[in-house]
Symmetry: C2
Subunit: 395 residues, 2 copies
């Protein structure tokens, strides 16, 4: 069927919500990895990365950096701060909420779960209720952005409830950082987890955690909790410009490059960029009569869209690859085949979205979903133009 795909030059375009498109200067920086990590040259890079990471996250708290994927840092939050039998609350609205539940259970914690169906979010009220019912709760785990569905939790409102309790508030912001407003210090978040392969525009393999005083008080010394992921070791070594264990040098150099770029444009503009693209995508979905999946506040990081009735979203994903060389994301877990996800986080721009939308229109039409060719692109263009006019007036 897809003779045309063999016919055309197809550029591979990685358009998924993680890994995300790579920032080219970071890729070039990664090639310069012939540097030793126990040298003063590297120490100055490492210190700058920690400082710029905190700037990117908008926090004055300590930030520790692991050579590990995001789940490694999630595990660190559990192993450093909690012990077997601790009562904790997991707030779950999708596949990554389920990961918090599996992870906390794996460490023997006593886990209660408040959950929302896929596409929805757990309300702060539900969290308050659960904490009221179990005052001995030691920790609350949540996703800022649930990337399996494309919704955000109201982290600020949850924090207001949690910070009055003894519970440590642990936020997986792997997808949320750089795509939504997260006021770590203002809201009093205790543990905020991020990863390299999202808004930071480099490959997977680095993750990092901002840690509050309240959380530090729970940490154990080097002998306890965790060996590789021990927060105290990383804090102490970090102050000396080092990693306690051999760091992923190439990724560090790439991160140094993207953090410099983000400093240049400003973290708030990186967030606005994702939000604008998300807004434009929702308007395009409306113009194409396809339904956004989010029932709660939609994410800036990605937009999940329901496949039209009778169409498997996997067919849309496959055609993007076959026709245009574009890799977009299917639904995960129970949502596989039902939704597809258009990403906006990190190194995405309007030209990407114009191309994605034009391709989506061709695919939807070929699958029998009635659309007007160009209508989705036009909605994206109009959103771009509106933002542009607003900026001229307000900025």
């Amino acid at each position: 069927m897809f003779l045309v795909s063999a016919m055309h030059v197809k550029k591979l375009r990685l358009l998924t919500p993680g890994p995300t498109p790579l920032y080219p200067p970071a890729v070039r920086a990664m090639a310069g990895s012939d540097i030793h990590h126990r040298t003063e040259d590297f120490r100055s890079i490492y210190r700058r990365v920690l400082k710029n990471l905190a700037h990117f996250m908008g926090t004055a708290k300590d930030v520790v950096l692991f050579s590990a994927s995001g789940t490694g840092a999630m595990e660190a939050a559990v192993s450093n701060l909690f012990s077997e039998g601790d009562k904790v609350l997991v707030v779950s609205a999708g596949k990554f909420g389920e990961r918090w539940a599996a992870l906390t259970r794996a460490f023997g914690l006593d886990v209660a779960v408040v959950e929302a169906p896929y596409g929805d979010a757990v309300s702060p009220e539900k969290v308050a209720e659960a904490l009221g019912a179990e005052p001995n709760t030691q920790g609350v785990f949540v996703q800022a952005t649930e990337s399996s569905t494309g919704v955000v939790h109201d982290i600020g409102a949850m924090a207001e409830i949690i910070r009055k309790t003894q519970a440590i508030f642990v936020v997986d912001a792997i997808t949320g950082l750089g795509t939504s407003h997260i006021d770590i210090d203002g809201w009093g978040l205790d543990v905020v987890v991020g990863g390299s392969q999202k808004a930071l525009m480099i490959p997977p393999g680095l993750s990092f955690v901002a840690i509050s005083e309240k959380a530090w008080a729970r940490t154990q010394d080097e002998a306890g909790g965790s060996f590789y992921f021990n927060f105290r070791k990383y804090k102490e070594a970090g102050e000396a410009g080092e990693s306690p264990f051999t760091p992923a040098i190439s990724l560090l150099l790439g991160l140094d490059s993207t953090l410099a770029y983000i400093r240049e444009i400003g973290p708030e503009k990186l967030i606005a960029n994702a939000q604008f693209l998300a807004c434009a995508t929702r308007k395009a979905a409306e113009a194409l009569s396809v339904q956004p999946f989010a029932k709660a506040t939609p994410a800036g990081a990605l937009t999940s869209i329901c496949a039209p009735d009778g169409i498997d979203s996997g067919e849309i994903v496959k055609q993007f690859d076959d026709r245009f060389g574009s890799i977009i994301a299917n639904g995960q877990g129970v949502m596989k085949g039902k939704i597809f996800r258009i990403a906006h986080l990190g190194y995405f721009d309007f030209s990407d979205l114009f191309g994605t939308m034009a391709g989506l229109e061709i695919i939807l039409e070929s699958l029998g979903h009635p659309i007007a060719l160009g209508a989705g692109v036009q909605a994206v263009q109009q959103t771009y133009i509106e933002m542009y006019s607003n900026l001229e007036i307000s900025d």
Copy 2:
């Protein structure tokens, strides 16, 4: 004025008709340049490159490869085959035609020029006339595709006239190769010049020439003509898998990579890809009421479009950069400010064109040219869909 450009993530996109977008595996191959050029490993690469270059050009003739930009190979054609005082005819329809005139005059040849105004092409009849008027003409120089204007010459028809004479037919196909049908052997072309930074998707720095028996008979031994660009030296060394002088190793490795890719998809499909994109661009221009510049047969390599009345094309070029990070080409020489050029040669695909067209619409509207947002994109989409249906039937 362009606050929005500071606001957004803008991906640098090189969308000019040379240098062209780079093929990523070639870029990665170029990083592996720690290889010595007088080793058997390198010789086997060099032999493969020469063989695949001939395959890409569709010729059984000898191909020699220079570490030099395209003008170097153009000079080689002059210095190897002609001597001071030789009567030659330059066929000129733009800036690169003018380069043939300047180059042949620099070597002291006795140059007659037949020219067409920018945007037009010189007819084969005019060439026949000029050759009739001067039977002692030793060579004819022409561009297959004049990239300053985006038109093609009828090389086949010119060849039919020239091959009956003593004249050597020298074709600058730097932009024409991989973007238009050029039957080097069938038409009996004598010297065909190509470069690396066009349909071959790698940076500038390599150029190559296919040479006929008729042309070889004019070449001089090592002592004459040219030292660095001496055809015979390159032929002899090439047969041994070598370059007579140190070759640009990284570019060679990149070329090896793109030639493998072109073998895989087929040179005729690379040409069709450019032609399809050019066709779609012309239809989009019509939908946006902007005038293609080509008065003669338009090129597959690029489409020149006239800036609407009262708009400087430089403003369109500048806005592409400011708003979207896209580098597109202004007119050259006397056409600067009057036309802009959308490229299709090499590593370009439909997603590129969707994005370029959506951006162009926004720019034209902002400059007061009345358009319907999405109309150009829609024309590109319809062209894509039509080609796709035709392919299903015919392939």
